[in-house]
Amino acid sequence: MDERTGWHRAQPWVSLLVRLGLAGIFLVAGGLKVTDLAANGRAVNAYQIMSYDAAMVVGAVQPFVEIVVGLLLLVGLATRLAAWLSAGMMVAFIAGISSAWARGLNIDCGCFSKGGQLPPGVTPNYLPEIFRDVAFLAMAIFLIIYPVSRFSLDARLDRPFSAGVPAEDDVLEEDSDESTDHTAPRRERA
C-alpha cells in the first residue's frame, strides 16, 4: 500500500526525467543532422533500403520531424502521441540497423553523426547501437504508459477544468484514488 502511493507520487517525476531525456536525444540527433540534409540523405541511402531519391527525401524530412518531436517532449505537449512517435522511430532505427548488420553492410549508423560508409579497417559496432536504441525505445514505452509528468504543458492546459473539482495535483489522472483515503475529510464545494 505504502509502496503503491510512493510510486504514485514519484511517477510524474520519473516521467519528467524520461520525457526530458528523450527530448534531449531527439533535439541533439535532429540538430546534428539538420545542418547537412544531403549528408543525412546519403546516410539513409547507405542502408540500401530504399531508392536514392526516396532516401534523400527521408533524409531531408527526418531531422525536422525529430526536432519537432523533441520540442513536444521538452514542453510536454501531446506527450503520449510524441512518445508513440518516438517509439515508432526507434523501432524503425532498430530494424534498419539490424537489417544493415544482417546484410553485412559496413556503415556508420548515422544516428548521431553524418553516417555513411566506414573507412576500410574500421569494423562497425552494431550491437551497442541496437542496445542504445532499445533503451531509448524502453523510455518511449514508459512515457506511453505513464504520460503524466511534472511541469508539462499537458497538465497546465488541463488545470482550468480543475476549478470545478477538488484541486489536486494530478488532475490528469483518470481515477484520482478517492477510495483509498477514507480517513481524509471530503472537501465539499461551497
Partner: protein
C-alpha cells in the same frame, strides 16, 4: 440526509462527465495541432531538399562525358576516385597512391576519373568542401586540376573549423600555376552548381563515403597496391575494353 448525499454524488458525476468530455476534445485538438506541426516540419525539410536540387550546371573542361568528374589519361580501364578535399582519409590516400595512379594514367593503362564531391560541408564552418570542389572545377577549366588537387591536399585544413576562404583558394591556385582567370572563376563561383551535380551523381552511384575507388565500376580498396592489382585483373579479364 442520504438523499442529499445522493444528489451531490449525482451532480459530481455529471460534472465529471462534462469534464471528461471536454478533456477528450482538448486532447484531440492538441494531437491534431501536434501532427500538423510535424507535417509542416516535414514539408520544410522536403522544400529545402527540393530547392537545393541541381538543375543547371556547366561541366568544366576536362570533365568526362557524364560531366560528373575530371578525366586524366585515356587507358582502357576506368578508375573512378571519389574524394572530398576536406576528408583526412582522402589526403592519406592521395599522399600514398596519387603518384602511382598518375603513372598508370600516363602509361595509358587507365582513364582516371576524379570526382571532387562535397560530402563534408557539415565538417567545416564555411562550406570548404563545396568551395574547394568548385575551385577545382575552375582549375580543370584552366588545365591544372591535378596540380591544384595536390596543392589542396598539401594544405588540407583540419575538420571542424573554418577552411581556406575563396581568397585563400586563389592564393593556393597561384601555387599550382593558375592565374587571374582562375581567380575570377573562383570569385564568380562558376562551378558551384557543377559541384552539386558531382555530389548528387556520386550519391546516386551509391558512394556514401570518401575516399571511394571503383575500378571498372567495382569497388577497390583505396591503396596504390590494391588499385594496381585491380587494374591488372581488369585489363587481363578484358584486354580489349574500350575507353569510355
Amino acid at each position: 440526509m442520504s438523499s442529499r448525499k445522493d444528489q451531490n454524488a449525482a451532480a459530481r458525476m455529471v460534472r465529471d462527465q462534462i469534464a471528461k468530455e471536454q478533456r477528450r476534445k482538448r486532447t484531440m485538438w492538441i494531437s491534431i495541432a501536434a501532427v500538423a506541426a510535424l507535417v509542416i516540419a516535414g514539408l520544410i525539410g522536403w522544400g529545402i531538399y527540393a530547392g537545393n536540387k541541381t538543375t543547371d550546371y556547366t561541366a568544366p573542361k576536362g570533365a568526362n562525358a557524364a560531366g560528373n568528374g575530371i578525366s586524366t589519361g585515356s587507358g582502357p580501364v576506368v578508375v573512378d576516385e571519389y574524394v572530398d578535399f576536406l576528408c583526412p582519409h582522402c589526403k592519406s590516400f592521395h599522399d600514398e597512391a596519387s603518384a602511382s595512379i598518375a603513372q598508370l594514367a600516363a602509361d595509358g593503362k587507365i582513364t582516371l576519373v576524379t570526382h571532387p564531391v562535397a560530402y563534408l560541408d557539415g565538417a567545416s564552418t564555411n562550406r570548404y568542401s563545396t568551395r574547394s570542389s568548385a575551385a577545382s572545377g575552375c582549375a580543370a577549366e584552366y588545365g591544372k586540376f591535378t596540380e591544384f588537387s595536390n596543392v589542396l591536399f598539401a594544405n588540407q585544413p583540419a575538420e571542424g573549423g573554418a577552411g581556406p576562404s575563396d581568397d585563400d583558394l586563389i592564393v593556393l591556385g597561384k601555387q599550382a600555376g593558375l592565374g587571374d582567370d582562375f581567380a575570377q572563376c573562383v570569385r564568380d563561383k562558376r562551378f558551384l552548381t557543377w559541384t552539386s551535380h558531382v555530389s548528387e551523381e556520386a550519391g546516386r552511384a551509391g558512394v556514401t563515403g570518401t575516399p571511394t575507388v571503383l575500378v571498372n565500376g567495382k569497388p577497390a580498396q583505396a591503396s596504390a597496391a590494391q588499385i594496381a592489382a585491380a587494374v591488372a585483373a581488369a585489363a587481363g579479364a578484358n584486354p580489349s575494353a574500350s575507353t569510355s
